[in-house]
């Protein structure tokens, strides 16, 4: 059934290697300045400038402008950091993991996904620095030759995290760029204006599709994919260790590393769907990103939602299995305290609602998919809120119990990073081929033989 194949093959729209290349490169080379694009980038640009103001005021006034207090010394910065880095994972999973698994449908998605990873990782990367009490000293976390002969403290999960994020951001950028090179070459050759020729020509670094270039290319890309997959797992495990590594009530749990990986999967796929569904319509990519993709992604989202659900259940189990009194107190405060709505929102948005996706009808209903994904993105933020804030609120000594409320500047920073992320995506859509053309070519050739059913 053509509807569900990786590439729409209805006569009229059936793309060939050539037409596909022309379609995709036309998007960037013959940009039609669509109104939706101008409006959205105006809006997201505004949000980004809010971020700039928020950061400026933060550096001037100090992090006292945030809601953090005693004992809740971690707040929005850490919540949003974990949230963004989890979103970033989606791209890496699709582009690296499924590349290794030779999943053919990934081809038309991985460019969008990787680009998303890139900007999400950047947004995440900002937070750990803003979070510091003295941000201008962040470089003290580097093991650089200091005149005092002192080193960073390598036993701290925060330092592990610092190295993990550093590695992850750098690797993602390089992996993304390497995957981009052949398509940049295509654009260079299709370019009509001098500026385009220079721009893409330089970026393509002289890739011409030589046999030698291709041979090493496949080797390099394969190896890197094989590294990226464990890397992304390690990054989220280490983010989990930021909490599990502490002796804090509600954090000190061995299940956190896998738990955080599950969470990353869920929010990653959700964000990919959130971007892909509108983009395929707006950029007329229906013939490359088909219902089939939405269907597969929805199934993956459902799967990871079940994984996360399992983690939640284990969380409850370990609380009541352990004899720790405070663990119970803290947990009870989560499920019926003044912050309980946030906990239950987490459960509903991440576990309950996604169960709709068992129905095939739901999986092909684009509006529904968008809503579910949006719910998950919000739900995952709430999950991090319960983990970061609610645990510290209720620690061993009742005398050190406290409350927490985000301030205006907390929210401004959060929405600012959302703006930054979307602005990045919009610019990417404008200036780089949003579907990986050279990989599509292999796919289009395979299409001559009937396509495989499911991944």
């Amino acid at each position: 059934m053509s509807e569900m194949s990786v590439i729409a093959s209805r006569g009229a729209t059936a793309p060939t290697v050539g037409s596909m290349t022309d379609d995709i490169s036309a998007i960037t080379l013959h940009w039609r300045r669509p109104l939706w694009w101008l409006l959205t980038i105006a809006a997201t640009g505004l949000l980004t400038s809010v971020l700039v103001v928020a950061i400026g005021w933060l550096f001037y006034a100090g992090i006292g402008i945030w809601g953090i207090d005693w004992p809740v010394v971690w707040g929005f910065a850490i919540i949003s950091y974990v949230w963004w880095i989890a979103i970033a994972s989606g791209g890496t999973f699709i582009s690296a993991l499924f590349y290794l698994l030779q999943v053919e449908w990934r081809t038309s998605l991985n460019r969008v996904a990787e680009t998303m990873t890139l900007f999400a990782a950047v947004c995440a990367g900002i937070y750990p620095i803003l979070h510091l009490g003295r941000p201008w000293l962040f470089y003290w976390l580097f093991p650089y030759p200091s005149t005092m002969g002192i080193w960073p403290q390598f036993r701290s999960p925060l330092l592990w995290d610092f190295f993990a994020i550093l590695t992850y951001v750098i690797s993602s950028i390089l992996f993304w760029y390497l995957g981009l090179v052949p398509d940049l070459a295509t654009l260079r050759d299709r370019a009509t204006t001098r500026r385009q020729q220079v721009f893409y020509g330089v970026l393509a670094l002289g890739f011409r599709g030589e046999d030698r270039q291709w041979r090493h290319y496949r080797a390099a890309y394969g190896v890197l994919a094989a590294i990226m997959a464990p890397l992304v797992i390690s990054v989220h495990s280490i983010v989990g260790l930021d909490f599990a590594g502490a002796a804090t009530v509600g954090w000190h749990s061995t299940q956190f590393p896998p738990f955080f990986v599950f969470g990353a999967l869920l929010s990653g796929f959700a964000m990919v769907l959130l971007l892909v569904v509108p983009l395929r319509r707006l950029l007329r990519l229906e013939s490359y990103i088909t219902q089939r993709h939405l269907d597969v992604l929805s199934r993956l989202m459902l799967m990871s939602s079940l994984l996360v659900g399992y983690a939640y259940i284990m969380d409850v189990f370990s609380v009541f299995y352990s004899s720790e009194h405070v663990e119970r107190v803290s947990f009870m405060a989560k499920i019926h305290g003044d912050y309980a709505p946030i906990y239950w929102a987490t459960i509903v948005l991440n576990i309950a609602i996604p169960q709709l996706l068992w129905l095939r009808r739901a999986r092909v209903n684009e509006l529904l998919i968008v809503l579910v994904s949006l719910g998950i993105i919000v739900g995952m933020w709430c999950e991090r809120y319960t983990i970061v804030v609610m645990s510290v609120r209720r620690s061993h000594l009742p005398s050190a119990w406290g409350n927490y409320h985000g301030t205006f500047w907390d929210w401004a920073t959060l929405w600012g990073t959302v703006g930054l992320f979307l602005t990045g995506m919009l610019l990417a859509v404008r200036y780089i081929p949003i579907v990986s053309m050279f990989e599509m070519r292999s796919l289009l050739q395979k299409r001559r033989t009937p396509p495989g059913d499911s991944p």
């Binding site: 100090g62 207090d69 010394v73 009490g133 701290s156 502490a246 005398s399």
Partner: protein, 955 residues
């Protein structure tokens, strides 16, 4: 950011600031005239703006007349840079002295320590005397002389007074009145007498806002003569404290606390004492009691009457609560070793009854003794109302108000302020430009007690010579100087010679060095009890209506310390409230009126009414509403003004109070963010009963040795450790202020406390246990535990907090980047973070800080260091003399009046700390965390009466 930040003051503002102009007037004679015309005023100011800017608002003039500051070319002997010098003096409140020693660094007073030789201190200090450092350096102190709120100068005041004096001399001082606080100072008393002989018709009035009249009248009633009762609590086996202030504010309370608590730790003394408390609202005495009974003020009289009936006359009156029988039985069973003490709020009749009870308990000479009254006797409230009447009648021509603030603190019903306007010539002498200062015709700034010579007597009569600690910061008069003026305007006003004259006989230098004038304790008195006058009071009925209890705030007292930020931000022992004084109501009353913490009510007594928020106080009698005085100042200084509610207007009005909910809410800053009542605080604050302890001393120990993957002991020359005895801690907070003063801990202000960002390194946790209506309260000082396996260190990414070889968990401020992970990982949550540049924004002179402790920057974590600076000092001394490091006393330890805190080196087998760690009651907080804290606690043991233990605890 912090509300303490002082707004920048423009020239225009200066123009309207009498203090400023006054200072200007003194520096530029004739300025006052120029300023008189509004036209030329701006001119003048413009012209001299530069001069002002240079001289500065709180300029540094020589102070005392003729005094000069000369920079030391050769450093004076005994002053070694970096080493403190100690000068003994005393802190005087309501006339009574508590001996202190002031630590100086390079001549700057920076820290208060107790005076071990002084009977009222024995080395301990209370919160208020600790906070005197801030009081002394307070930038808001009265800085210059004013005439009708306009700047003036000494010359014009002297001129005016000389004119006034001539007429007074002719009339023999007709209409001359002098109002002072309670006076125990022999020198002042002598001067006053001299004044009265010089002006036969003059009269003196003595008055304190917080009256102890009932105590005096009670003795008068019982013995027909004034006597002071001095309890000897170390000899007391059974104490019944009736609404008592023994541990909080009674003159000599530090001494009483030491004596009483010295009998509370069964591991150190053969026989543990037993304490009963009966009170309408929780007090510190109630908190340490083995049995605490709740009774409304009305009921108290009725209960005491019943008690007297049982003990004095062996009757057994009907329908008394059953515990009375048990308590009186216990008291009588311990004749000669029992004592009943009653607080100053109870009427004289009750005091008289209690005297009778103590007599028949055969307690005199054993658990207490009588002495001749220490203070000059006067019926203070009567004395003041008399004065006000005369003022209103216009028969007062000249009024001197010396170090007293009646305009603010006199009972609202009196209408002192209105009456004062009818006095043609009134002079006030005040430390702060307070309400009275700005209401009198002439206002003189007073020198701080650390700026002039003086003397005062302790609760037992022992005298102390107050020696100045520094040249006056501002141009002020001492009370002695003013009285000298009264005597003879032309005589040289030299308080030193005045005081020396008083103590000719004593060894002057000895007295200064020890801080005690030897052999000055009051003579014992031996009055005989008058049985007459007992009967009528026995018929006291049992009223059941809402009663309003007006008490001084434990820290800012009657309001005089309201401008002291340390005291404002110090959590009140039981409510943990700071910066505010809501009405305290019982949970039952709150339920009845459906009120919650912070709800605003309109409180009406007679025709007086105030609007105030409420706070629910567990353990308070449901018929009582408690209002703490001293807040709501209008001219108390930039910190005091506008904070809290002024309840003085209610004072003196009669009628049953009514509460009406306004519907509005107020934000209250309590450091108690959880307000919950634990059924069992046992895991955190281990406590048990004496009987169990006697069966098995280790009955609180759960003896499973914690498992280890790896165990590492720091191998240093010393092992610093601390032990805190929960049996003797009375939750007085002296240690907290001592720590704040020693370690330059910033004050953050009400808003930041509401935001849960208080900075105290040492906090005293208060847990409620039991029923909300009558819980018991448990105190637990919590500071950095200096864990040998510290969780905080492992998670710091830059190694800003590490362990040193002597087992200290040290914090490297300069290395801290502020990830705050350490705080998350601290099970005890003792780390504090500088969210803003709190220290910078403090309203405080830099000179007042401890130079040995670095002031922390914005974005840096901080915490208790075990007073590292003091340890370092000891190390250096040890190295110099090439011997093992000696004893170190932390700030909290030395301040503690009951020696609950012990600190020392575990490597020194002879040390107190080693003994304490061997105590069978010794336990570590959250031991299961395997952090191996160097701070441990001694579990609290209670000694309940077997006859009552069947009943619910604390009922």
């Amino acid at each position: 950011m912090s509300p303490l930040k002082r707004p920048w003051r423009s020239l225009a503002e200066w123009e309207s600031d009498p203090q400023f102009l006054a200072r200007a007037a003194q520096e530029f004679p004739g300025l006052a005239e120029a300023l008189a015309s509004a036209h030329s005023r701006r001119q003048v100011l413009k012209l001299m703006a530069a001069a002002f800017a240079m001289s500065g608002i709180a300029g540094c003039d020589a102070g005392a007349p003729g005094g000069r500051l000369i920079p030391a070319v050769k450093s004076p002997p005994g002053i070694v840079p970096g080493l403190p010098n100690y000068y003994s003096t005393a802190h005087v409140i309501d006339g009574f002295a508590t001996g202190i020693r002031v630590a100086h660094q390079m001549g700057r007073p920076i820290k208060v320590e107790g005076n071990p030789l002084h009977p009222a201190s024995l080395g301990g200090t209370d919160v208020v005397s600790q906070a005197q450092v801030l009081e002394f350096y307070d930038p808001d102190r009265a800085a210059a002389l004013a005439f009708r709120r306009h700047p003036s100068d000494r010359q014009s005041f002297l001129a005016a007074w000389t004119r006034q004096r001539r007429s007074l001399m002719n009339t023999g001082g007709e209409g001359l009145r002098i109002l002072t606080g309670t006076i125990t100072s022999p020198s002042l008393a002598a001067q006053l007498d001299a004044v009265l002989t010089r002006y036969p018709h003059a009269r003196r009035h003595q008055w304190e806002p917080i009256s102890r009249d009932n105590v005096r009248k009670g003795a008068q009633l019982a013995f027909g003569q004034g006597v002071d009762l001095v309890p000897n609590l170390s000899a007391v086996d059974v104490l019944l404290a009736i609404d008592s202030d023994l541990l909080s504010s009674a003159p000599g309370h530090l001494r009483f606390a030491r004596d009483l608590m010295s009998r509370r730790n069964p591991t150190r003394i053969p026989k543990m004492s037993r304490v009963y408390a009966v009170e309408p609202t929780p007090t510190l005495t109630g908190a340490v009691a083995d049995h605490r009974f709740i009774a409304s003020p009305g009921e108290l009289q009725w209960l005491v009457a019943g008690l007297a009936a049982r003990i004095v006359r062996g009757e057994s009156p009907p329908d008394l609560p059953p515990w009375i029988a048990a308590v009186s039985a216990d008291l009588m069973a311990n004749r000669g070793r029992a004592l009943v003490h009653v607080g100053p709020d109870q009427p004289a009749t009750v005091h008289a009854l209690v005297h009778a009870i103590n007599e028949s308990l055969d307690a005199r000479g054993k658990t207490f003794y009588f002495i001749e009254p220490v203070a000059y006797a006067a019926d203070q409230s009567a004395s003041l109302s008399e004065l006000v009447d005369d003022m209103r009648a216009g028969s007062v021509n000249a009024l001197f108000i010396i170090d007293s603030n009646p305009v603010f603190a006199a009972a609202g019903a009196l209408g002192f302020a209105a009456a004062l306007e009818r006095v043609p010539f009134s002079v006030s002498l005040s430390l702060h430009p307070d309400e009275t200062f700005s209401a009198t015709t002439w206002s003189l700034p007073m020198t701080h007690a650390w700026e002039s010579w003086g003397d005062a007597r302790a609760f037992d009569g022992t005298a102390t010579v107050l020696q100045p600690q520094a040249f006056p910061l501002y141009d002020g008069y001492s009370p002695h100087q003013v009285l000298a003026l009264l005597n003879d305007a032309d005589a040289p006003v030299d308080s030193l010679s005045l005081v020396q004259a008083t103590w000719k006989t004593a060894d002057w230098h000895e007295s200064l060095a020890t801080g005690v004038v030897p052999g000055t304790a009051s003579k014992k008195a031996n009055p005989t009890l008058r049985v007459a006058g007992m009967r009528e009071s026995l018929s006291a009925a049992r009223p059941a209506s809402l009663t309003l209890i007006l008490r001084p705030d434990p820290y800012i007292w009657d309001g005089r310390y309201a401008n002291n930020a340390w005291l404002q931000e110090l959590p009140r022992p039981l409510t943990r409230l700071t910066w505010d004084n809501p009405l305290l109501i019982a949970p039952a009353l709150a339920r009845r009126l459906s009120l919650t913490n912070g709800d605003e009510v309109r409180l009406t007594v007679g025709e007086a009414r105030v609007v105030a928020p409420v706070w629910i106080q567990p353990g308070q009698h449901s018929d009582s509403v408690v209002a703490l005085l001293g807040f709501g100042r209008s001219a108390g200084g930039s910190i005091a003004n506008g904070g809290g509610v002024d309840y003085y207007p209610l004072l003196g009005h009669t009628g049953t109070p009514t509460l009406v909910k306004t519907g509005r809410r107020a934000e209250l800053a309590s450091t108690d963010h959880h307000n919950l009542i634990l059924n069992v605080a046992g895991d955190l604050i281990k406590h048990g009963r004496l009987t169990d302890y006697q069966q098995n001393a280790h009955f609180l120990r759960k003896d499973e040795p914690p498992a280890h993957l790896y165990r590492w002991h720091p191998e240093g020359p010393a092992e610093w450790a601390m032990s805190i005895d929960l049996n003797t801690c009375i939750g007085c907070n002296a240690c907290v202020v001592a720590c704040q003063s020693e370690n330059n801990i910033p004050v953050v202000g009400k808003q930041q406390v509401i935001h849960e960002r208080e900075m105290h390194w040492l906090r005293i946790d208060r847990y409620w246990e039991g029923e909300p209506d009558s819980p018991r309260s448990l105190f637990q000082p919590v500071l950095c535990m200096h864990c040998e396996q510290a969780p905080c260190e492992v998670v710091c990414p830059v190694g800003a907090t590490v362990h040193d070889s002597e087992g200290l968990n040290v914090m490297v401020y300069n290395r801290c980047v502020g990830t705050r992970f350490c705080s998350n990982n601290c099970p005890y949550k003792v780390r504090r973070f500088n969210y803003f540049a709190y220290a910078q924004e403090e309203h405080r002179l830099p000179e007042s800080r401890n130079p040995d402790v670095s002031v922390r920057a914005r974005g840096v974590m901080e915490k208790c260091t075990f007073c590292l600076q003091r340890i370092a000092e000891a190390r250096i001394a040890a190295d110099r003399e090439n011997r093992p490091v000696g004893t170190v006393t932390t700030a909290c330890q030395s301040a503690c009046p009951t020696q609950a805190i012990s600190f020392g080196n575990l490597r020194d087998p002879s040390s107190e700390i080693v003994r304490r760690k061997r105590s069978p009651l010794d336990y570590a907080l959250l031991a299961e965390q395997n952090t191996h804290p160097r701070v441990t606690y001694e579990a609290r043991i209670d000694n309940p009466n077997p006859a009552l233990t069947t009943r619910r605890r604390g009922a």
